[in-house]
Symmetry: C2
Subunit: 196 residues, 2 copies
């Protein structure tokens, strides 16, 4: 593949968040297709802390998803506190993961920014997938928790957010304790309905 020679990869208008620089792109060299195919859900983590610059890079990657009308409806809460994670853990069947992950990122949609349920939920999925790929590229691992949405309101109240924010997912992340996860997909011949 030949890339255009002079593409500018800088993100326009990007000041550092809270004075902390996000990670330089050159540090994460996994290629896109490799990353897409080798990413797995990681549910067990080591005790090694996750650097703040990585957390911010992950969120930044999420925000570079496309959204309808570029409405960017995504909002994030970074949860490191073990107290908060323990409370969160009681709201899901997968509490052990939430308790043991060094960080959870709760991903919300801002209802005031929405314009179409299906399209906005698609945009949120694109955002979360960017986050998972960025996590993988940074040598970290994560699992996308959806079951906790049954307690979306309780999560919102726990995090003391206004009711314009609706929980879309919790991403639990950290340094993977192992990397032997397997996954399966249908062959593409099963999902291509037609060609014309």
């Amino acid at each position: 593949m030949v890339l255009p020679p002079s593409r500018d990869l800088r993100v326009p208008g990007e000041p550092p968040f809270s004075g902390i620089q996000t990670r330089k792109q050159s540090e994460a060299t996994m290629n896109i297709l490799e990353g897409i195919y080798s990413r797995r859900s990681i549910r067990n983590f080591t005790d090694k802390p996750v650097e703040q610059r990585d957390v911010l890079e992950i969120i930044k990657a999420g925000t570079w998803a496309p959204s309808g009308l570029n409405n960017q409806p995504w909002r994030f809460v970074i949860i490191r506190s073990s107290g908060v994670r323990n409370s969160l853990a009681r709201l899901t069947r997968y509490g052990t993961i939430v308790k043991n992950a060094p960080i959870c990122i709760a991903v919300f949609v801002d209802r005031d920014a929405m314009y179409d349920n299906a399209k906005d939920h698609q945009a949120m999925g694109a955002c979360i997938q960017n986050m998972l790929l960025a996590i993988h590229a940074l040598g970290l691992g994560a699992v996308w928790l959806g079951e906790i949405l049954k307690n979306a309101e309780a999560v919102r109240l726990l995090l003391e957010l206004p009711d314009t924010n609706e929980l879309m997912a919790v991403v639990a992340l950290g340094h993977p304790a192992s990397r032997d996860q397997q996954s399966q997909r249908k062959d593409i011949s099963e999902v291509i309905l037609n060609e014309c």
Copy 2:
């Protein structure tokens, strides 16, 4: 970043589709974060045809998105025919793009595979984002068309699909006529609601 030394990147149980091998991963070397930040919507294409192996790689990348319960609700129709693209073009305000793109991929959700509207729509968004990133990694360009969903039923009938399939997006793709597209995102400080 240090990758685990012996990770097996092969996709398990992957026979070629229609006897055609998909592209080798080593040919697409753009790294993940670079790809996420430099991807832009491409609406103008050259006449150069898109190779079938690239189309299949793009769909395969889509299928490696995560989905709730691994239900893989995505289905695809590959549209090369100019006759079909011209009919499709009449169903959207962005008909010129559909007419001039060498290929459109219509992305459907299989209602019979769904289990939760919001979560399945998120999975579809993750799938489409994987496709857009794969397209970008392969040196191609694309735009995610959502406005055409106002005519989702007409698209389904045009493509002669059973009513269990619901249109989620049309991805128009090809070789970019130019690469000077700009895009903007909120700074992450605007979308991080809290940190605890």
